[in-house]
Amino acid sequence: MSEDYRRFLRLNQLPHVWCPGCGNGMIVKSLLEAINELRLDQDRVVVVSGIGCSGRTPFVLDFNTMHTTHGRAIAFATGIKLANPELHVIVVMGDGDASAIGGNHFIHACRRNLDLTALVFNNGIYGLTGGQLAPTTPMGKRSTTSLGGSIEPAFDLVRLALGAGAAFVARTTSFDHKQCTSLIKRAISHHGFGVVDVLTSCPTYFGRMNDVAEPYDMVHYLRDTSAPAHDSACDHGPPPDTSLLPTGIFRDEERPDYAVLYRQKIAAATSERRAS
């Protein structure tokens, strides 16, 4: 039976601002499917975003929503989650948001392992500001600030998150809808900091600058430049070195998250206080 996802939408805030053919809507659909399948309490879901096209996600979602500042969504989310650990806090970020201006918050969140879910809407370019170079723009690809092709190596967000110590790390695409939903679901259920790097299409800028302007071609570009490296059910390991961006789960580690450790610290401190 098909579900009616309208109950998760603020219908009076539609239409959304995204361009026709933008991949963001597909990621949001996956997110809503994941939330639905996990039967999360709508009143306890918080969606926090930064600034960017991706940052517009929370506007249309009928949860507790917060549209923060560029790059800082994870830091805001850290406060929300620690103030009320009962909340399911989901952070949506652009790739520039997460790895340029917010890179510092991103790596420290990976290291700290607070129970947040971080989704990076990774279109390899700055969408909202009009198609400038991102830290994730593949070398050689064009943007409005790298018209001759980028001469900078790109960040691989999966490797970045693994290196920074994130407990759950996965990559998927907005093309592979089933995988996208299942990995977002896994990331939300995981206790600890979960990162999903979602490669997504921006036909308007990435596409137009790089000869894949047709939304359909842009989706094929995602399909043809990535490859499932791991079955999401099996285990894992670092991404193989291929020219294709591997998708799947690259780490799925259960260890005490920050809130658990903090509760232990409170218990120790309060018993010490009582004893003294």
Binding site: V48, F59, T65, R72, A75, F76, L82, H105, H108, T270
Partner: protein
Amino acid sequence: MRPQRLVQGNEACAHAALYAGCNFYAGYPITPSSEVMEILAQEMPRRGRVFIQMEDEIASISAIIGAAWGGARVLTATSGPGFSLMQEGLGYAAITETPCVIVNCQRWGPSTGQPTKGAQGDVLQAIWGTHGDHPVIVLTASAVRDVFDMTVRAFNLAEEYRVPVVLLMDEMVAHMRENIDWPEPGEIPVFERRKPADPATFKPFGGDEFVPFGTGARFHVTGLAHGPEGFAVADENAARELKRMVGKIRDNVLKLTMVDRYRLDDATIALVAYGITSRPAQSAVDLLRDQGIKAGLLSLKTLWPFPDDAVREVARRVETIVVPELNLGQLVREIERSAAGMCGVIHVGRVDGHLLTPTQIAQGALQQEAVRA
């Protein structure tokens, strides 16, 4: 006998935050504010409250704003370089009407400047540092007990007006030790957050009530110009919201004004001082009085909204206002504006990292006397 404690300004600040019910602190170490954070790192977990050290000051202020919407009473403390980084978050707190307290133990600047030397160089930044017109309350403290009271006051005002409140301390008051009467629980009133009767129909903006996330209201918070529901607005609606936000502070200036008056009744020279500088200024009044000069002191505890009426009332009665500040002339401009030519206004500044002495302040006043005689 009342309990007394010999404590440092920063220690008083940390304990006052606990007293005021602060249950979330996020910060990044920086001299001369670090003791606030070190004390809370110990004391918060003992009370089941949250302390977290963040990766920088942008993260710290972002985390406390998030925590406020998670339901906490929140604080961060920093000094100049960190305060500069916090301007982004301060603006976000202002436009989202988030109750939060930011303590800035001022040090000599700009930039890294002199980390262990006090100054009063961040006054205008505290008022105007973030971009755009915005509501903010700025308070100061001139003694250790004053730090305690003003910290509790900062929490109360943050909650009552739903604004960021900046408490401007300085290296001297932060590190000074004084024996103070330790407030008993209940002695200083603590303002409880106003809650709406029905959270489900709560509109997050435009009123003074506040409910956090997770209570069933499901609203949107954004740094974009927004209306009462939290969704983006433009044109005259954006103007209306901005005026309302700024107005809730500006229109309540009389309620928000906190000043101390010392020997002002018959004064012909008024010192107008704030923060640590109020201390030598008070001694300067006595020095001048000993020389037969009718001096008095108006000590400002609220710096923003600017206590215009209090300054104007003095300007009307005296011949000269003397403004001692540990900077090259900041609040003096507001004071000149208030005085509006009703009396002379002169500035006595010091920026070598040391406190102005009573003699220096008195001399500054006397030179003015000499000019006039």
